[in-house]
């Protein structure tokens, strides 16, 4: 039955050491059960099978040897119980050769003990081993010994080996003689030096003379504690001066000199490395900025991070409208400050066309560095593989946004329809947590065209730059940074300069000006404002621009008859508007700026002006739907300059582009009755709207 069981176990067990161990253990336990049940006959058979299996077990480790020795003992005692004394003795011989120091266990018959001791006298003797140095590692017949001293061994020849770093290994053959203690003395010859390094804490990288020599590991005595590490042995160290560098991230590095004068053991440590941390205070120019340090979310700025390791850290702040990313190098014990300026970011996702300056260089990174000086926008080059992955996810080729210098799409870019580009720009910007995306089209190895798309835009801004020309880069950065002013202050007077007439001549008074109800008249000359001389209209404009809306400015006038008079006028806010078709205006860049401004705007006038400008920027990137939505939320009075007439004209354009003829016509009619201008510099929307109405009348319904 046991044979059958064994056969079944062998058959069902998968091949390999583990299966072998499992089956051997089963055999062993079954044999032991039979032995304990005093069923010696079946026990002998079972033990023989277990012994065969144990003898075949590799490697012959201590556990196997202990099991085998016990199996030999049990079989010897079983045979003795069955009256087979020779067989019992033979098993005792095998037992003692395997384990010379073995002692019988449990309650054993004195007769068996006598046979065992008799056999021991024939098979086992004593061996006394002495060792210099005592710390060397000792082995007998390849099996490690705990150390020097007297040990029980089988009678006969044995090999004793001693090794230690810095010493020549020594092997000696010795014959253990029965009935006496055989002595063997091993003295190792010193041949080189050894440095033993211990650190607190462990996991410290060690360099000797600048060459990595390993890392200390936690001592097995107290793993996971701040106690000294296990020694790291550096062998074969030449005679002379050596430098040991100990480094661990977030700890102050330690360097020690070791003078090796002669072959010997040298000890370094335990060396205690002091923690190296700094405090970083982070603030932002915008509220609600999320802070990430080395990619880890640390909360909302302003905040203080007290436990940053010294060294370089990537500090990023993000809001929906911009980000700030910078690398900060901290010194242990320092209090560093980051005052982040969040700027809208364009992620440079692709490069196409021409040849790059060098195959090893990522042009996107060169562009990122070239535009680092920009005060209003960030161009970031995400890792190349991430950019490629994002493009592939959107099924876009590298020339998906390639343009010529006029901004016209070239290559695959020409095949991408507006809606697809809008979707792609939004998706890619989101993938890199940026506010827009950018692509680089190579014109020559150094000359590139950069196309910028705000998220959700279809029509890119185009900036051409020679990357090897600082003036060209500076000009491009200046273009990106060109600020837009959304309002100015005025008195509601139309003023002109006249040759031979000092001062500023009033040639018109706006209906919303407080001058309407004063003594000011067309033809009057402004001579002073707030007591300061007004040499010309520009001087008065400058003076008024220094005031806030609601302030009062006193004007000294002279009328046509030469009479003097004084009036006091209230300063009014006057909207400004970016050009709907101004060449070179970077609408995508402006759009990002305006989105951020809108988020901060609280004053209804300011909100309206921002929305109006956003509408124009959206129209420029061909998003008429969004433009119309913004325009419908703009509230401006009917006034000269940019006013309600401007809004109506733009609503007309948006409706026309969206195919809503009736809405367009109504808006153009409203604009045609207005004195507003399209921008503060003209032209009058009245003329533009009238032309549009003529166009609509001519167009088939």
């Amino acid at each position: 039955m046991l044979a059958l069981l064994f056969a079944v176990l062998v058959a069902v067990s998968p091949p390999g050491a583990t299966a072998q161990q499992a089956s051997t253990e089963v055999l062993y336990q079954e044999a032991r059960r039979l032995f304990d049940a005093l069923d010696y006959e079946r026990a002998v058979t079972a033990l023989s099978q277990a012994i065969t299996a144990l003898e075949a077990t590799t490697p012959p480790d201590a556990t196997r040897n202990e099991r085998l020795a016990t199996a030999y003992e049990m079989r010897a005692r079983s045979k003795f119980g069955l009256g087979d004394q020779d067989g019992a003795k033979a098993d005792f011989v095998l037992l003692l050769k395997l384990s010379p120091a073995h002692a019988l266990s449990g309650q054993v018959s004195p007769r068996v003990v006598a046979l065992f001791e008799e056999t021991a006298r024939e098979v086992v003797t004593s061996l006394s081993v002495s060792l210099t140095p005592a710390t060397a590692t000792l082995a007998l017949d390849g099996v490690a010994l705990p150390g020097p001293g007297t040990i029980r061994v089988a009678i006969g020849d044995h090999t004793v080996t001693a090794t230690q770093a810095g010493y020549r290994p020594l092997t000696q053959t010795v014959t253990a003689v029965a009935g006496t203690t055989t002595e063997v003395a091993l003295t190792l010859e010193r041949v080189s030096s050894v440095i033993r390094i211990t650190t607190i804490p462990a996991d410290v990288d060690v360099k000797v003379d600048g060459v990595a020599a390993g890392r200390t590991v936690a001592s097995t005595d107290a793993p996971g504690t701040a106690s000294a590490s296990a020694p790291l042995l550096i062998s074969d160290v030449a005679t002379g001066a050596h430098t040991v560098e100990l480094t661990r991230e977030c700890y102050v590095a330690v360097t020690q000199k070791v003078e090796v004068e002669r072959p010997d053991d040298y000890t370094v440590g335990p060396v205690t490395l002091r923690p190296a941390v700094a405090t970083l205070s982070i603030s932002a120019d915008q509220p609600g900025a999320q802070v990430f340090v080395d990619g880890k979310d640390r909360g909302v700025a302003p905040l203080k991070v007290p436990d940053l390791c010294d060294g370089e850290h990537l500090v990023e702040l993000r809001t929906p409208f911009g980000s700030d990313s910078r690398r900060v190098t901290l010194r242990a014990g320092s209090d560093a400050v980051v005052e982040a300026i969040l700027k809208p970011a364009f992620a440079i996702v692709s490069v196409s066309g021409g040849t790059t300056p060098s195959p090893q260089q990522d042009v996107r990174v060169i562009v990122e560095r070239a535009f680092a000086a920009s005060k209003t926008v960030t161009l970031i080059a995400p890792p190349a593989d991430a950019a490629q992955k994002a493009l592939e996810a959107s099924q876009l080729s590298s020339d998906w946004l390639a343009t010529d210098t006029a901004g016209r799409p070239v290559g695959a870019s020409a095949q991408i329809a507006g809606p697809l580009r809008k979707e792609a720009s939004a998706k890619l910007a989101d993938a890199f947590r940026a506010q827009g995306v950018a692509s680089v089209t190579m014109v020559s190895p150094a000359r590139v065209i950069i196309a910028l798309l705000s998220a959700g835009s279809a029509s890119p801004d185009v900036v051409e730059v020679a990357l090897d020309s600082p003036p060209s880069i500076a000009a491009a950065v200046a273009r990106l940074d060109r600020s837009i002013s959304l309002s100015r202050t005025s008195l509601g007077l139309q003023l002109i300069d006249v040759a031979d007439v000092p001062g500023a001549v009033i040639v018109g008074i706006d209906a919303n000006s407080t001058a309407v109800s004063t003594a000011a008249r067309v033809g009057d000359v402004v001579l002073q404002a707030d007591g300061k001389p007004v040499t010309d209209a520009a001087a008065l404009t400058t003076l008024v621009e220094a005031h806030n809306p609601g302030d009062v400015v006193a004007l000294d006038l002279r009328d046509a008859a030469g009479a003097a008079k004084r009036v006091e006028l209230k300063v009014l806010p006057t909207p400004r508007l970016i050009g709907l078709s101004e060449q070179g205006l970077l609408a995508n860049r402006i759009l990002l700026d305006l989105r951020a401004r809108l988020a901060e705007a609280t004053d209804p006038f300011e909100q309206s002006v921002v929305r109006l400008n956003m509408a124009v920027a959206l129209a420029r990137v061909v998003d008429w739907t969004a433009a119309l939505e913004e325009l419908q939320r703009v509230k401006l009075p009917e006034q000269p300059g940019v006013g309600n007439g401007t809004v109506q004209y733009l609503i007309g354009l948006a409706a026309e582009n969206l195919g809503n003829r009736a809405q367009a016509e109504a808006a153009f009619k409203a604009a045609a009755g207005s004195d507003s201008l399209l921008t503060e510099n003209g032209p009058p929307v009245k003329e533009l709207a009238e032309a549009k109405l003529v166009e609509l009348q001519r167009a088939p319904r």
Binding site: T405, A406, G407, R408, Q494, L495, I496, D497, V498, A499, D500, V501, V505, V507, G508, V522, G523, A537, A538, T541, A560, G579, L580, S581, E582, Q583, L678, T679, N681, G682, P683, P684, E687, L688, A691
Partner: protein, 496 residues
């Protein structure tokens, strides 16, 4: 001088491409240096020296990146300074033939269009010029010359009196290139359009913006002049002009037998009298005198050259005298004898009043008779910025206004609402096309606006200093100041 400034500003605006390769570096450097030398001469007003440098670049370094720029500069010089249309055309044609893809090619197309319109304003010429301008945005959409092309499209339509068609083009320049000098020029032209369409006061704000956006520029100066003129005529009341207290010339200078008064592009005042032509700087200090015995008339043409007329002979400064033979039906041609007035047109042709023939004839710069311009016995001739010519008709005492080809556009009769000419003695156009008529006997100056509507009458008769008693001649400067010669005081009095 005004043209020279424009020419200089265009030169500065030219962009130069980088050299093609290291092999040509040496000659490229030489070309660059020669070209920059030329530009330097232009900025100093030394056009002859500049032309030599530009020509050297074209001749010696035709493969350089500067050859096309030099050719463009040569063409601009001939068009705007020398007024040699043939030479300008040759340079532009060569540029377009040999450097069709260069960065100067777009401006060459603009120049070709301008040349076309300078030669003729027939509908066919207008269309040809417009086609040349249109090529620029179509072929070179990102070129800075697009703004210029759009401006000249509008300006050509303005010159063709298609005011409504011109307006959108000026708007487009303003909207698309608000920071370009072409936007300022478009605003100036649009302002002139508003004045021509009797909406003068709407031009104020537009002109003032030019001053604020382009301070210190020639365009800002022009805007100041425009606004000054408009202020006087449309805002200042009740008297648009007042005696400034200034006289032209020294305290004791007196002049007799006046041939006329003129103001050149530099603002200098010229007075023709029995001993020649005295030239005063804008402050009234005598600069020099062109000696001539009892000239009957004089005029100033390109590069401020004074042309004196005596006994029917034209005597241009520093150039040979020009006698003019005019055809007589079925008879031997006769020489011009009595010329009370003459002018030069923008293209270089001259108009001469032929008292004996009782008409106005058109002659070339070389004195060749080209055509009878108008059958008007003209006492005075004057032209405006559009090349329209106003003539005092001795016979009717009215004013005849013709286009540059002699087609009569309108007439201002001797008598009309609120005025009557007794002795119209002189004429002047201001920069915005208002016509000023000096009547000696009435001691008044009548100012006519669009559609020949009388805008105002300037009457300063009296005996106090600065009053007029026997006004005989007048001129008007860019800022609309009036320079009136009065036979009583025998001096030029300034009104502003």
């Amino acid at each position: 001088m005004k043209h020279a400034l424009l020419f200089a500003s265009l030169i500065v605006a030219v962009t130069v491409s980088a050299p093609a390769g290291p092999a040509a570096q040496g000659s490229e450097d030489l070309a660059r240096r020669q070209y920059e030398s030329g530009r330097s001469f232009v900025q100093k007003g030394s056009f002859a020296e500049a032309l030599k440098d530009f020509q050297a670049v074209v001749d010696s370094f035709p493969q350089s990146a500067y050859a096309d720029d030099a050719l463009l500069d040569i063409a601009l010089y001939h068009l705007e300074v020398a007024r040699d249309q043939a030479a300008a055309q040759a340079a532009a044609d060569r540029l377009l033939k040999e450097y069709p893809a260069s960065d100067s090619a777009p401006m060459a197309y603009v120049l070709v269009g301008r040349l076309t319109i300078a030669k003729s304003r027939t509908p066919a010429s207008i269309d040809t010029a417009l086609a040349s301008f249109e090529r620029v945005p179509r072929l070179f959409p990102s070129s800075p010359a697009v703004a210029a092309a759009r401006f000249y499209t509008g300006d050509t339509l303005r010159l063709a009196r298609r005011t409504d068609d011109a307006v959108p083009h000026f708007h487009r320049v303003t909207l698309e290139y608000p920071r370009s000098v072409w936007a300022a020029r478009a605003d100036l032209a649009a302002a002139a359009n508003l004045v021509a369409s009797d909406r003068a006061t709407q031009a104020f704000a537009r002109l003032q913006r030019i001053r604020q956006q382009f301070p210190g520029s020639p365009e800002a100066e022009m805007a100041l002049n425009f606004n000054t003129i408009l202020y006087r005529l449309y805002v200042r009341k009740p008297a648009p002009f007042a005696f400034s207290g200034r006289f032209i010339g020294g305290e004791k200078d007196r002049f007799r037998d006046i041939a006329g008064v003129a103001v050149d592009d530099a603002g200098r005042i010229l007075l023709g009298h029995r001993q020649g032509i005295s030239i005063f700087d804008p402050k009234g200090t005598l600069v020099r005198t062109v000696v001539a015995v009892e000239p009957s008339a004089f005029f100033v043409e390109a590069r401020d050259r004074v042309v004196v007329i005596r006994d029917g002979i034209l005597l241009p400064e520093r150039l040979p005298a020009v006698g003019v033979m005019v055809p007589v039906p079925n008879k031997v041609p006769r020489q011009l004898e009595d010329v009370p007035s003459a002018i030069t047109l923008s293209g270089g042709d001259r108009l001469v009043a032929d008292r004996k023939g009782k008409n106005v004839v058109r002659i070339s710069q070389a004195g060749k008779f080209l055509a009878t311009f108008a059958a008007v016995d003209a006492e005075r001739l004057v032209r405006n910025e559009l090349d329209d010519v106003a003539m005092i008709d001795r016979e009717s005492k009215g004013i005849v206004i013709a286009d540059r080809d002699g087609r009569v556009l309108s007439r201002i009769p001797a008598k009309g609402p609120n005025y009557q000419f007794d002795d119209p003695a002189d004429l002047a156009f201001d920069l915005l096309g208002h016509l000023y008529v000096l009547d000696s006997r009435k001691v008044a100056i009548y100012v006519f606006g669009p559609k020949n509507r009388l805008l105002t009458t300037i009457a300063s008769a009296g005996r106090e200093p600065g009053s007029l008693q026997k006004p005989r001649a007048m001129a008007i400067d860019a800022a609309g100041r009036l320079y009136v010669f009065d036979e009583s005081s025998q001096r030029i009095q300034v009104y502003q």
